[in-house]
């Protein structure tokens, strides 16, 4: 099979050996309508019985979760930054400007002056990559590709070797301290197998998190970004939607309003396994240099 390690792939489930796999499922997270309510974080924890990850005040805007971890499979990022000059375009595009928290009811002060401040909010999640670094390097087979094209850890197999954690170019999968095993989003494998929507998408009140067939989500996302551009929100861009990118496209992709690194996402990630063949070739050469040394040293004439 071509492109099993890198490059565009029609269907990762078929590539993994499934016959008659159902359509690939995924998330499209449209951050332009995220209101930072964190219902996704809560719903995920409740459905998947994910333990708490510390009750901390991080002093990083409204983000007290910090990032994705073994115990946070959805994470809402809050970015405070000066607004671009054309910020009103978002309002014109039909998005209500919420501004800074007020002591008054929204809408009562109709002529409240705009500030030069904006919030970016984004609900981050495992990307369920077409070429998943975590899955590639897992030595036990605990990580596997599901029939839906998603990537899931089998907790009865994982022995906590930690390789997947370094294999993920997004820093998603993590080892749980008191448990020793690796954990991450399953894209609610138990729910979608039953025809249900994953807990986070179900709980999202603004449809910032959309769940569905990946092909359809990609079409929908392209339309949404085109609409935003038409309305003057030129900074809107898709992230992880491109099958030609370094991970063969994400099963969970995003619409962002700034550069990916502003949200804590890598700007141009690639699956480490992309270079695996070249790595083994170099290691082979190094191994040969050891053989050559041994031969020269011990097969040569005695001195």
């Amino acid at each position: 099979m071509g492109n099993s390690l890198y490059g565009p792939l029609d269907d990762p489930a078929t590539d993994a050996g499934f016959t008659e796999a159902p359509p690939r499922m995924g998330f499209f997270t449209d951050t332009s309508v995220c209101i930072g309510c964190k219902a996704c974080e809560v719903a995920c924890k409740e459905w998947n019985a994910v333990p708490e990850d510390g009750f901390n005040l991080l002093g990083q805007s409204y983000d007290n979760t910090g990032g994705l971890s073994a115990n946070s499979w959805r994470h809402v990022a809050f970015v405070e930054q000066p607004a671009p000059a054309h910020v009103d375009a978002l309002t014109e595009a039909g998005t209500q400007f919420l501004g800074m928290p007020l002591s008054d009811l929204p809408g009562r002060v109709t002529d409240a002056p705009r500030t030069d401040f904006r919030w970016l909010m984004m609900s981050n999640v495992c990307k369920h990559c077409t070429h998943a670094g975590c899955l590639d390097v897992c030595p036990t087979g605990a990580l596997f590709r599901t029939e839906f094209g998603t990537v899931v850890v089998q907790d009865d197999i994982c022995n906590g070797c930690g390789y997947c954690i370094s294999g993920c170019p997004y820093g998603v999968i993590d080892r749980r301290e008191d448990d020793g095993r690796a954990w991450k989003c399953t894209l609610c494998y138990d729910r979608i197998g039953d025809g249900l929507t994953p807990a986070c998408a179900k709980a999202c009140p603004t449809e910032s998190i959309q769940f569905g067939e990946l092909d359809e989500l990609r079409t929908r996302a392209a339309e949404r970004v085109a609409k935003l551009h038409e309305d003057g929100v030129t900074e809107a861009r898709l992230y992880g939607n491109d099958p030609d990118d370094g991970v063969g496209g994400d099963g969970a992709f995003f619409l962002l309003l700034d550069e990916p690194e502003v949200y804590g996402l890598p700007p141009d990630p690639h699956v480490p396994t992309r270079d695996l063949v070249k790595m083994w070739k170099k290691a082979g050469l190094a191994a040969l240099s050891m053989v050559a040394t041994a031969v020269v040293v011990f097969a040569g004439r005695s001195k």
Partner: protein
């Protein structure tokens, strides 16, 4: 957020942007157990080559010392590898599958096979202790030739054991491990050869062992230099901070060890000291490489800046800190 950006126009544009300076890729959860394993695995491989060299040249001192150290280093390797697991009692899950895309899977199988043949080779050393008659007498006669084959078999697997760990580290999203994949296996190969030769320098030095030590140290120093200077920003963690200090000390020890091996080749004491320096150099090299990778994962700029350059399709002039 742009540190230093914001509403002060006089501040120049930040070097790169990140989310509150938090890491993007996750720093490895591996502990120093893995750095120790890099050393003991390399030592096992180097000693196995030394032992086979002793076999080939009819030098029982090198053969015995090589085989003994191989077994000891193997034992330590297995111990530290299992200890580092989140669920050590499930270590045997490693042997559920053979997975070509996972260097850890292939490495586990390689280590298991290596352990098997090395065990037979080591066991053959005890053949003279067996009685001459009866079933054990047969074992006594069969074991030496079997052990000889196993000894060469161990040496044949040794280069793979010494270098697969470079693929293991490079096939990760850890920026400074991933970037140096062309040179890292040569660092590990050189380090393994030098540590194997060091065993010979301590146990029974001769000109061949000195030669092996010099070639190993030179390979380790040369490839190490390329890791430290050949990869732009991603070479920086190999020169800075604790990793930088460890690798500098490793270089000094390796150079001293190689020179000492040559100069002191007629003195058992100087040779043994040179061997000790090479062993210490190998340990520090492994810890330095380990630490450099961890640091490169902790600081988001090592993830963001090279990827941003890649995405922009142009080189951003980035001042080295």
């Amino acid at each position: 957020m742009s540190p230093g950006g914001g509403d002060r126009p006089m501040v120049p544009k930040a070097e790169f942007e990140s989310y509150y300076g938090r890491p993007i890729v996750r720093p490895p959860v591996w502990t120093h157990d893995i750095a120790i394993y890099l050393f003991t695995g390399g030592l096992a491989a180097g000693s196995a080559i030394l032992a086979a060299g002793g076999q080939a040249t009819g030098d029982p001192v090198l053969r015995r010392a090589g085989r003994a150290v191989t077994m000891a280093a193997l034992g330590a390797s297995t111990f530290f590898l299992i200890k580092d697991l989140g669920r050590p009692e499930r270590f045997h899950h490693m042997l559920r599958v053979i997975k070509p895309t996972s260097a850890m899977s292939l490495g586990t199988w390689l280590l298991s096979g290596f352990g098997g043949v090395a065990g037979v080779a080591a066991a053959s050393e005890f053949a003279p202790l067996l009685p001459e008659r009866g079933p054990l007498g047969l074992v006594r006669r069969v074991l030496p030739p079997v052990g000889a084959v196993a000894g060469y078999g161990t040496a044949a697997l040794a280069p793979g054991l010494a270098t697969y760990t470079a693929v293991l580290f490079s096939d990760t999203a850890v920026p400074s491990w991933n970037a140096v994949y062309p040179d890292l296996p040569f660092v590990f190969a050189g380090s393994a050869l030098a540590s194997g030769a060091a065993v010979g320098l301590v146990a029974g030095p001769n000109d061949r062992v000195v030669q092996m030590a010099v070639i190993g140290a030179a390979l380790e120093l040369g490839a190490g230099h390329r890791c430290e200077h050949g990869y732009g920003l991603l070479s920086e963690p190999y020169r800075k901070g604790r990793a930088g200090k460890l690798l500098k000390a490793a270089k000094v020890l390796n150079a001293v060890g190689a020179v000492g091996a040559v100069v002191g080749r007629r003195s058992r004491v100087v040779s043994a000291l040179a061997g000790a320096a090479l062993l210490a150099g190998s340990v520090l090299t492994r810890f330095g490489v380990f630490e450099a990778g961890v640091e490169s994962a902790k600081d988001p700029r090592y993830t963001v800046v090279p990827q941003r350059e890649q995405a922009n399709g142009k080189k951003v002039n980035f001042p080295s800190a």
